[in-house]
Amino acid sequence: MIESNQVFIIAAYAVTWGGMLAYLAYLARRGGRARAESERMAPADRNAV
């Protein structure tokens, strides 16, 4: 049986990992978008030059 204190310990570690993994996912999504945008803009950049 889980003691009441153990629930808080598990919650603390879950929040830590949840926060870090959510930010990692956000970076992956935003990074992918930025790379795609940068590749899309590259020909326009060359044309401008």
Binding site: S4, N5, Q6, F8, I9, A11, A12, Y13, V15, T16, G19, M20, Y23, L24, L27, R30, G31, A34, R35, E37, S38, R40, M41, A42, A44, D45, N47, A48, V49
Partner: protein, 235 residues
């Protein structure tokens, strides 16, 4: 006029993935070591194990906002765009760790103090710090002009980071429910190794996050410059 960001040169994907793997692996190893080896504390019992995530998260918050202070000041001095992007990357990661610190403190406070939140000096000043940097990120999101955005956010970032010593000293300057700062010097030796290992592991994660976020910010800025150049060419 501020110097434009040089063309982004990101580390090879394999190096970045390896750094991520090592950082997150270090957190898993440090947390496993701490959970399995640290004895129950006299007053708090096993609740003490929350310290291994709460205290390093607070330290990373301070460190990230120190990076914001340094690079914001450097931007205001030299006007280099890369300094602005690095300060903004550190601010976002600092806000993440600041939010985690607050949530972990609340999770610890409920069983230890009987309340989720109390308006004492340490908790309130940490919340104010968090709100300042949420405001910093909102400012960056709403100002379109890159130069104005960089200048204003450098000022907010530098002033916001000056709140860090107030947060740190709050438990000394005022009577608070929060205990004095935890550090290897004030802890029972049974817990110091665990705290040090967890702090080092989280430091690696923080460095990885800031590097990655900075790399993305430079790509986005380069695309913005390209769009501006294309618009100028099309006139």
């Amino acid at each position: 006029m501020p110097a434009a960001a040089s063309s982004p040169s990101s580390p090879p994907p394999r190096t970045s993935a390896l750094f991520a793997f090592v950082s997150f692996g270090a957190v898993i190893a440090a947390q496993t070591h701490a959970i399995l080896t640290s004895p129950a504390e006299g007053d708090m019992g096993h609740l003490q194990k929350i310290m291994y995530v709460h205290v390093p998260a607070a330290w990373m918050t301070f460190l990230a906002f120190f990076v914001v202070l340094v690079f914001s000041a450097r931007y205001l001095w030299k006007g280099r765009e890369n300094d602005d992007l690095l300060a903004a990357s550190a601010a976002e990661v600092g806000a993440l760790f600041n939010g985690l610190t607050l949530m972990l403190g609340m999770i610890w406070g409920r069983p230890a103090w009987g309340v989720w939140w109390v308006w004492d000096a340490r908790l309130t000043s940490t919340l104010v710090l968090f709100l300042i940097f949420v405001g910093y990120l909102a400012l960056r999101a709403f100002v379109d002009d890159a130069e104005q955005r960089a200048r204003w956010s450098a000022a907010v970032g530098a002033i916001g980071a000056l709140n860090v010593p107030i947060v740190y000293m709050s438990v000394t300057w005022w009577r608070t429910l929060h205990q004095p700062p935890s550090s290897p010097a004030t802890l029972d030796p049974a817990y110091t190794l665990g705290l040090r290992l967890n702090a080092i592991a989280l430091l690696l994660v923080m460095i990885y996050f800031i590097r990655k976020r900075y790399e993305i910010a430079r790509l986005e800025r380069a695309a913005e410059h390209a769009a501006e150049a294309a618009a100028m060419g099309g006139r």
